[in-house]
Symmetry: C2
Subunit: 312 residues, 2 copies
């Protein structure tokens, strides 16, 4: 039975997974991402690691039905990276380079955020869903729109850039994109902290957060879960921004499910409940019951999604 | 050379067009929509008219490659109308009924608003574009999202319902959908009048609209074009709501073009310029240059789009 490799190339480590034809993960490992020499060692390292995995498992290159690669940057379908600052790559024919070193094999490439969403659709909380929106709440707010099983890229590659939906005309701070009032300024980990600090500065009442020199988004959720009033006000505000944005998204693409992932989503069902509360207030009646679920694959979403580039 | 018929079934009239295989409109006419007997005469009337057109042009049913029908309600791809209040239809197998009367022929059905958008993509201002968003500013605000040449319906049929994107938390009036602050409450013909009346009630200064007992959206645009300050404030507000909503839409689907149609769009480039002004303020840099164009087919968009169901 032939194998498929899903490879998630990150700025620090490369994750590799070996899958069966039906998408079962049989083996996984990590290697460091060597960024020396303009990132020229990364693809050779991956090829060497796959060859090693094959040897250990008494397999040959003929057993490999394909290799999917998730890349942290813009990449065309036929495997040309347009620029990848984190890896030191400029315009670079990744798929061609891979085949040159490894030998002839089916290679597919896609952006890492999109690949993670594909992974959730393939074997995670979106399994079996063909039309979904993934909301990734991390350092920033990312998104991925999947229509009929395919990632919607957009004419300028900006489809799914939901972190930059304009949400608040009164914002005075500037977002990383240069505008003011983007969803990312409220829904990201740094956004949660900023919103909480604003509430702390203006609202009455005690809060355990006042005693902390500095605090993280996790601290805010932990405090909220233990009943802290100020922290709960911050989580309400987060839920309102995300619920409203999701309602706007439903009026555009009307997905079958919203999947919430990223570091902030570790707050779990507590966070989901707040988003859903406001989503139901803002959504059109036709799509008011659209479910919200937590991403389930965590850091493995990338290798599953990379494998899905070959297997689905 | 065989012919295709595009039929746009409206609440008052049915528009019919005969097209060549390459989508050239050769002949068009209208018949009244007879809604007696639960709308049971409508399909027989259409079949009779098509037969008459064929006879006049020395053609037979064998020359008909297909018939596309635009229906004012929800309809499945295989031609089952789910309900159509305006025509008196309940659940009704339109395509089957058509074939029963006319004889075996390729029949395709779609919702009329979606068909109009398809028409603009087929032979109107979206010609050659495969990824576009149509914004229809009429009695309400409608929309249609086209991805890779196909209408995006959404899981609940609510994709493209951009008129109900939540835009203003401070609105006190209720929208037809039951929520408050929907785009439709500002961007529709009635919305423009309402916004203008609010500004008239609070803003300083003279306005020709103050002398009118009642006025329409067209009156507001005419006054704005002639330099009326209050009317221009209303058009700015309209542009701001539509430009912001379009920027949000771009963060979700990132289309190649926005096509603006419907009665309010008769205000022309004057309206487009105001929308674009605010779109550029709110849009993410990647999609800041997405063009906005006026729909060009007007009332003929429906027959072109219905033909496109067969021809494209």
């Amino acid at each position: 039975m032939s194998k498929c490799f899903g490879v998630d190339i990150g700025g620090t480590t490369v994750k590799l997974g070996m899958f069966t034809e039906d998408g079962t993960l049989e083996y996984q490992c990590e290697i460091p991402t060597r960024k020396d020499n303009g990132g020229s060692l990364i693809i050779p390292d991956i090829c060497a690691k796959i060859t090693e995995i094959l040897t250990v498992n008494s397999l040959t290159k003929a057993d490999v039905m394909g290799v999917g690669l998730g890349v942290p940057g813009a990449v065309t379908e036929d495997g040309i990276v347009l620029k990848c600052v984190n890896l030191g790559w400029d315009i670079f024919k990744v798929a061609d380079k891979f085949k040159e070193i490894f030998g002839e094999v089916n290679v597919k490439c896609a952006n890492d955020a999109n690949v993670a969403a594909l992974g959730e659709m393939f074997k995670g909380s979106g399994e079996g869903k063909k039309d979904m929106v993934m909301i990734t709440l991390g350092t920033g707010v990312g998104g991925c729109v999947i229509v009929n099983g395919k990632i919607l890229a957009g004419v300028n590659g900006a489809a799914g850039e939901i972190g930059h939906m304009p949400m608040n005309d009164d914002e005075e701070d500037t977002c990383g994109c240069g505008k003011k009032g983007c969803l990312e300024q409220y829904g990201s980990a740094t956004g949660v902290v900023k919103v909480t600090k604003r509430i702390l500065a203006s609202a009455e009442g005690e809060s355990c957060l006042k005693d902390m020199e500095d605090f993280s988004a996790k601290d805010v959720f932990d405090a909220a879960k233990s009943g802290d009033k100020i922290a709960n006000m911050a989580v309400e505000e987060l839920g309102k921004y995300l619920g409203k944005a999701a309602a706007q998204i439903s009026c555009v693409v009307d997905p079958s499910v919203f999947i919430v992932g990223g570091g902030v989503s570790k707050a779990g069902q507590f966070l989901i409940d707040r988003i859903v509360k406001y989503y139901k207030e803002y959504a059109l009646f036709a799509s008011v019951d659209t479910p919200f679920t937590l991403a389930t694959l965590g850091n493995d979403a990338g290798i599953y999604g990379a494998a899905a580039l070959i297997l689905s």
